[in-house]
């Protein structure tokens, strides 16, 4: 299958970006260097093209009911302009995807939602929504608008200042997880104070045709998926397909450390299974760890205990540009999950000492 290309492929290429395949998209992985881009986001501001993220639009009299039954969080809490992080789970409570749900201004008096599934999952998610809508006979329209919108993340402690320079309206007063339309060069951009770097920042959903002008308006460090990965690991944030995967690494929100997205008082697919798991407790949990010995932990490396018995697997790892230590995430039995516990990570055949740490590894914006 040919790779999908973001609207700015040409602009990124001219800027000297290196590219990688991600979720079926040809995306910039690095513009200058991962460390340069990472530091820009931690210390100043950087902008990411995240147009590979899906956009699905749901409206109609039963839009709230449909969203409520297919996402783990409590959608009814969202006022217009609010957003929330949620899991999408199957009947067994296994995470199929994670997403952010935005409540847009109501359309024709009906509640209207936009949610953002991960790269490459938009078609399956769209199908899932349509299929359940039909089964439950709900009145809602569900449109996959991934190809209609670009998405940018402007992230860093100076993100608000930078955005204020290009929007007609102030957005600095938005609270975390709050959003509204703001105009950049005459184009309405859905502007949310959200992001996936652990820093303050904004995500903008921009009409595909206006992507170039909007991107060019941000005169700041362009960042690729490489820096996005190091930033999100430091922030202890999950990567779909790596830290959880319904096929290769099936996990519940409780195991993955996102139990806060589960609103058991609502009815959703997977709710009953999760209620039982919440009651019984989990056997394994995602932990953050730091390698004490020299080396870099990578996805797929074994985690062992002092007796060299394999007890888990590294799901994400990197040399942290901010704390300058090798850090990672991985699932281990709860008996090994307490911060301070010593583990071993097998790096190319050699056991390296590691210690369980509290995540996030850095101070983040809540």
């Amino acid at each position: 299958m040919p790779l999908q290309t973001p609207p700015l492929r040409g602009i990124h290429d001219e800027r000297g970006a290196k590219f990688t395949e991600f979720g079926g998209w040809d995306m910039p992985v690095e513009f200058d260097s991962i460390q340069t881009e990472h530091a820009a986001v931690r210390e100043d501001v950087g902008v990411f093209d995240v147009s590979h993220m899906g956009q699905i639009h749901v409206t109609g009299p039963d839009a709230t009911a449909l969203m409520q039954r297919l996402t783990s969080n409590d959608v009814s809490r969202l006022a217009v302009g609010d957003s929330q992080y949620a899991a999408i789970t199957d009947e067994d409570g296994i995470i199929v995807d994670d997403t952010v749900v935005y409540r847009l201004p109501d359309e024709s008096d009906d509640p209207t939602y936009l949610f953002v599934p991960n790269a490459g999952t938009d078609e399956a998610t769209h199908e899932r929504w349509l299929s359940y809508r039909n089964e439950w006979e709900l009145e809602a329209t569900v449109d996959n608008r991934t190809d209609e919108y670009a998405m940018f993340a402007v992230q860093g402690p100076n993100a608000a200042d930078r955005l204020e320079r290009v929007t007609d309206e102030s957005v600095a007063d938005l609270a975390r997880f709050e959003a509204r339309y703001a105009t950049i060069d005459g184009v309405d951009c859905w502007t949310a104070r959200t992001g996936y770097t652990g820093e303050d920042g904004f995500e903008l959903i921009v009409p595909w045709a206006a992507a170039e002008e909007t991107w060019t308006a941000f005169d700041c460090q362009p960042c690729g998926l490489g820096a996005r990965d190091t930033l999100r690991i430091e922030a202890g944030l999950l990567l779909a397909g790596q830290d959880f995967d319904a096929e290769s690494n099936p996990r519940t929100p409780y195991e993955a450390g996102i139990g806060f997205t589960v609103a058991l008082e609502t009815e959703f697919v997977g709710r009953d299974a999760l209620a039982a798991i919440e009651e019984a407790g989990v056997d394994e949990r995602l932990v953050g760890f730091q390698l004490i010995d020299r080396g870099v932990p990578r996805h797929g490396y074994d985690i062992t205990n002092a007796e060299s018995r394999v007890i888990g697997t590294v799901t994400s790892g990197t040399m942290s540009p901010t704390v300058e230590k090798p850090i990672g995430l991985g699932y281990v039995p709860v008996a090994y999950a307490e911060p301070g516990t010593t583990l071993q990570v097998v790096v190319r055949g050699q056991s390296k000492k590691a210690r369980v740490e509290t995540t996030p590894f850095i101070e983040t914006v809540q």
């Binding site: 000297g16 992985v29 690095e30 260097s33 991962i34 460390q35 490489g226 990965d229 190091t230 020299r294 080396g295 870099v296 990578r298 990197t318 040399m319 540009p321 090798p326 190319r348």
Partner: protein
């Protein structure tokens, strides 16, 4: 983008360079290789005194995004390693043909170098 490929060295297809002086061969990775890897954060090298076989793996260079094995251009005893890389692996990015060198091998047979790529041939490979 053009990369530095100094003439006086020999190159491996796996992007190491080799520079011989009086039978001792200094080894590092090319400018192209450091650029492909991106920010180098870790280098694993053999110990002085280890004996290597030409063409076999002698260590690992890791950047934030990738892990890459390192291969010996010639066989012989390791007579020096660049310990500066343990604290400053970024030297590989900053100066791959100079301060970013990795090890020196007392070559069993310096003629082994003749089988490696010349600068021109290596330039064609990365073009």
């Amino acid at each position: 983008m053009s990369f530095d490929v100094p003439d006086e060295r020999r190159y491996l297809e796996s992007h190491e360079w080799a520079l011989e002086t009086d039978g001792v061969v200094r080894v590092g990775i090319s400018d192209f290789a450091q650029d492909e890897l991106g920010d180098v954060v870790f280098v694993e090298l053999p110990d002085e005194g280890d004996v290597l076989e030409g063409g076999t793996e002698f260590g690992v260079v890791e950047s934030i995004k990738a892990v890459s094995d390192l291969y010996a251009p010639v066989g012989g005893e390791v007579v020096a390693i660049n310990e500066a890389l343990f604290d400053a692996p970024e030297l590989v990015n900053e100066d791959p043909f100079g301060e970013g060198w990795m090890l020196e091998i007392d070559a069993d047979d310096p003629d082994e170098l003749e089988a490696l790529l010349t600068a021109d041939e290596y330039e064609d490979q990365i073009a």
